[in-house]
Symmetry: C2
Subunit: 293 residues, 2 copies
């Protein structure tokens, strides 16, 4: 099976699981509709794929950790819903569709985010199956650290505080490390933990994810300046509009592309201890260098 | 030690733990300030006390489960911050002080809520100490179920959807069961799980909490009509203003007081299998009957 087909299969498994995860629940007003609207809005499913494939690379069974992969996507989705709110980035479009609060109203969008965040933990804690409980605990704790005030939420707070101010390169790097890097690193670390990987394995996959996450963010900043609105599914230029300092404003487009390529090479290098088993994750890093959405 | 002194000591332990739990963290803009502003704003600490004392009654060590007691208070606090937001109940005062978004702005209030919700799970998953991992998982999963779309968040969604509509008694009961009852039931169930209580023990303490939670909500509805603003720390009459159907609008004040007393008796009765060990929790239920804040 080639890597492209493997990626397609991973994504399909994630889609199927997410599509069914709230089936049979009593409806509470629009709440589940709003949760599913954003959860099933497409997206690259990067974080779940990273978790599944890291687990596989570290010798674990990807099938057994699918609920954890989907939990991280629930958590990612909640963060997008809340980030889009009028009090935050005030975005009207996401992935080519109206944002959650545009469809369901602010109150329901806030609650849908809260419910998805909670559902991420519920899922991990309830669906560990026959995995050792110590691994389930360690993986869920890893996601908790990455998602909270020491990670993603802390990054969003810095991001909001930084609008309209000039930031240094190290400020922007710190912001990226928290806001997007923490969750990407958690995805691979959780995959490794759930597979029973060693401390050295964990260090290697986290190094991969840190490089990959930074490359991913720089590419994101580039697309906000030079991307195609149709392909992106959202208007470009929002960073400039919100007066955000980004890697592009600090370094320029050309140097950013070089950086993305350097970082991608370093990410691939970090996985050398895994030899051939790292094939997919190295390929995936390469695919993201030139992505256009 | 009398019960009043025991309650004071439990509350003091919770206050001390909450006051120190984010110490030494890097500040991210106003985020931790906003989290602590609401977390340390007083309050009855009912849920943590229920967890600690149920654990004790079921033969567990209260000291070991203090982080879980505080986690549930973090979760309760997040729900208050989000409920007060302009898009939700739009409240300006809480416990005699301006609400979170009035002080820190909407964006930070949303993020402080998100961070406290996440911190509740982080705390449980990281600070289980030498408790058996199966119990830690089961207790955290219990809180997840109670807090999410099947519990508290689902209740808040129903509450928002119900404003301005006439609700039946069974609608109002369902709303209470989800919005406030689920978390109160989770507090005692978690205490029992962490102590290693039997399935019968769990059923009994949950029955206690269901009766107590309903009595608590009816009393809340009564205070919103007939309470003293100074003692409550918030304006009365907000239910009427938001055109909410409550136990008082359905049953009247006099019948509500009778119901509170009946339910309190049933709550106490539910703990009869525990004999003298249930002394504190029976006393606590009695204390809540006549509370004025």
């Amino acid at each position: 099976m080639n890597y492209k087909e493997q990626l397609r299969q991973d994504c399909q498994q994630v889609e199927d699981w997410l599509r069914n995860c709230f089936r049979g629940r009593d409806p509470h007003a629009d709440l589940y509709d709003a949760m599913q609207y954003s959860l099933l809005a497409g997206g690259k499913r990067l974080r779940p794929v990273l978790l599944l494939e890291t687990c596989r690379m570290c010798g674990g069974e990807a099938d057994k950790v699918l609920p954890f992969a989907c939990a991280i996507e629930m958590l990612h989705t909640y963060s997008l819903i809340h980030d889009d709110l009028p009090a935050m980035d005030n975005d009207d479009l996401r992935r080519g569709r109206p944002t959650n609060h545009k469809v369901y109203g602010e109150a329901t969008a806030i609650l849908a985010g809260d419910a998805l965040l909670t559902a991420a933990f519920e899922t991990m804690l309830e669906q560990g199956g026959d995995l050792p409980p110590e691994r389930v605990l360690a993986a869920a704790a890893c996601l908790g650290r990455a998602a909270g005030a020491r990670g993603m939420v802390g990054g969003q707070a810095l991001d909001m505080a930084g609008e309209g101010h000039a930031l240094s390169l190290s400020d922007v790097e710190e912001l990226q490390r928290l806001k997007t890097g923490a969750l990407i690193a958690a995805a691979v670390e959780m995959g490794c933990i759930l597979a029973g990987g060693s401390a050295d394995d964990r260090a290697a996959v986290v190094r991969y994810a840190q490089k990959l996450g930074l490359a991913f963010q720089i590419r994101d900043d580039m697309l906000d300046v030079a991307g195609d609105e149709q392909t992106l599914g959202k208007p470009i230029g929002s960073d400039a509009e919100n007066e955000k300092t980004t890697f592009v404003t600090l370094k320029g487009l050309e140097r950013c592309q070089e950086l993305v390529e350097e970082l991608t090479g370093e990410a691939q290098q970090a996985l050398s201890p895994f030899g051939e088993a790292a094939g997919f994750l190295c390929w995936l890093a390469g695919e993201l260098v030139g992505r256009s959405n």
